[in-house]
């Protein structure tokens, strides 16, 4: 007796990635059992795979026995072209922008139909901000997301517009209305949101262009309200976005 009943079709690679995928922003430390549960794997299987990953430094074990993402994976991750050059180039401008606005500053790119946050400087804690570096959010209810969506291929826009889910009472869920906004984003050169993702948080964002053409990222800030200093914020954002764009231009 004994033997097994492994779910056929499942590969080791998919199992390993399921385990790694169990970690996220609010689950940076997980026990064996939690990992197994979240990856939907039997505990002994998870145990063995995790043991191997740990031996190779892909995971690490805390003194208390929990598992965390290992330094090897961090070193590997920073090689990803998400950010080659972009983050380093943007850093000083993000700080300038922060100094000028004292708001939470975001640098983000589009990854499929989501915003991927590359960097963040935190402003006043009174404004609720859900994004963190490395996290993903939908494109349509965020400032940086709207900018990226406005400059995305038609195919991507269509896909996003076809499934607008209400997140707060202010989320835009009518495709036609969002499409009109995207048109404005392109003509005006900036996007805004008013509590569409989080109550109490508004945002302003502008595109970052390489060679003054392709939109490769978006730069945004989150503030408690848009009041009447919006022009000042947009101006500050534009200066920073231009600076970043100049720093990264030149390549293909």
């Amino acid at each position: 007796m004994a033997g097994n009943t492994s779910r056929p079709g499942a590969t080791v690679v998919s199992r390993v990635l399921a385990l790694l995928g169990a970690f996220d922003e609010n689950h940076r430390r997980l026990t064996l059992t939690e990992l197994a549960r979240r990856a939907e794997l039997p505990v002994p299987t998870a145990h063995r795979l995790i043991g191997e990953l740990t031996a190779h430094g892909a995971l690490a074990r805390t003194p208390s026995g929990e598992y965390v993402v290992g330094r090897q994976l961090w070193s590997l991750g920073v090689l990803a072209p998400v950010q080659t050059g972009l983050l380093e180039a943007a850093s000083p401008f993000l700080h300038d922008l922060y100094a000028a606005t004292l708001a939470t500053v975001h640098l983000a790119v589009r990854d499929g139909t989501e915003v991927l946050y590359l960097d963040r400087l935190s402003g006043q804690r009174s404004v609720p901000v859900v994004s963190t570096v490395g996290s993903r959010l939908p494109l349509y209810p965020t400032g940086v997301g709207k900018v990226l969506l406005a400059h995305a291929p038609e195919q991507v826009q269509a896909k996003v517009l076809s499934s607008l889910k209400r997140i707060t009472p202010h989320t835009i869920t009518q495709p036609a209305r969002l499409r009109a906004q995207l048109e404005r984003v392109r003509s005006e050169g900036y996007a805004t949101t008013v509590e569409e993702m989080t109550l109490g948080a508004c945002s302003v964002a502008v595109p970052v262009r390489r060679n003054e053409a392709d939109v490769v990222a978006a730069l945004g800030i989150v503030v408690p309200s848009l009041r009447r200093d919006r022009p000042r914020l947009v101006a500050a954002l534009r200066v920073a976005a231009h600076g970043i764009g100049r720093s990264i231009s030149g390549g293909a």
Copy 2:
């Protein structure tokens, strides 16, 4: 016929990590054949594994057919506790330090017997700097490395001291001499190197302490020569290190 002759003992996990490990600072884009060669795997095996990894977003394929580290791995990597809080907290101080010195600024931690660079701001290009964010170097010929080594457990120090390899004509290869230097690093509170890693590059580094006790990181700068402004550099470094330390203190 057919069948296989797979090297026994090799696991899928080790094969996958060998493939991922094929990427490094100077090899961010690799072709299938290069990946297979660097991971010492047969091409068809590499092909299948890479295909799966790509399907899961762990790797990505460039338009030209080469493979790069994927965004999923980047998102995962930023969850690593290498840097939770530390990088974000340090960022403004690194910029201040850069503004004050115009030198290349480094933030690093110890990973085993190596320095792991967490962040870098580039100064004058005339000074040759080999480190990059995410890369590793030996502890003993670098400024940040000496600081970290000086505050490492005796066991680690012994291991490092037992295998000092000459890198430049100025590299310290006598264990006794290095041990004396480490003693000075502890008493003086800063470390220096003079072309020990790279000809034409000198460095100054100080520890970053959590709760004014444990050394959790090191902060350093690279300059063309140590001339006579060393006291000013050390002072600037200390201010920044203190600031970072205060920002991250409080936890265990």
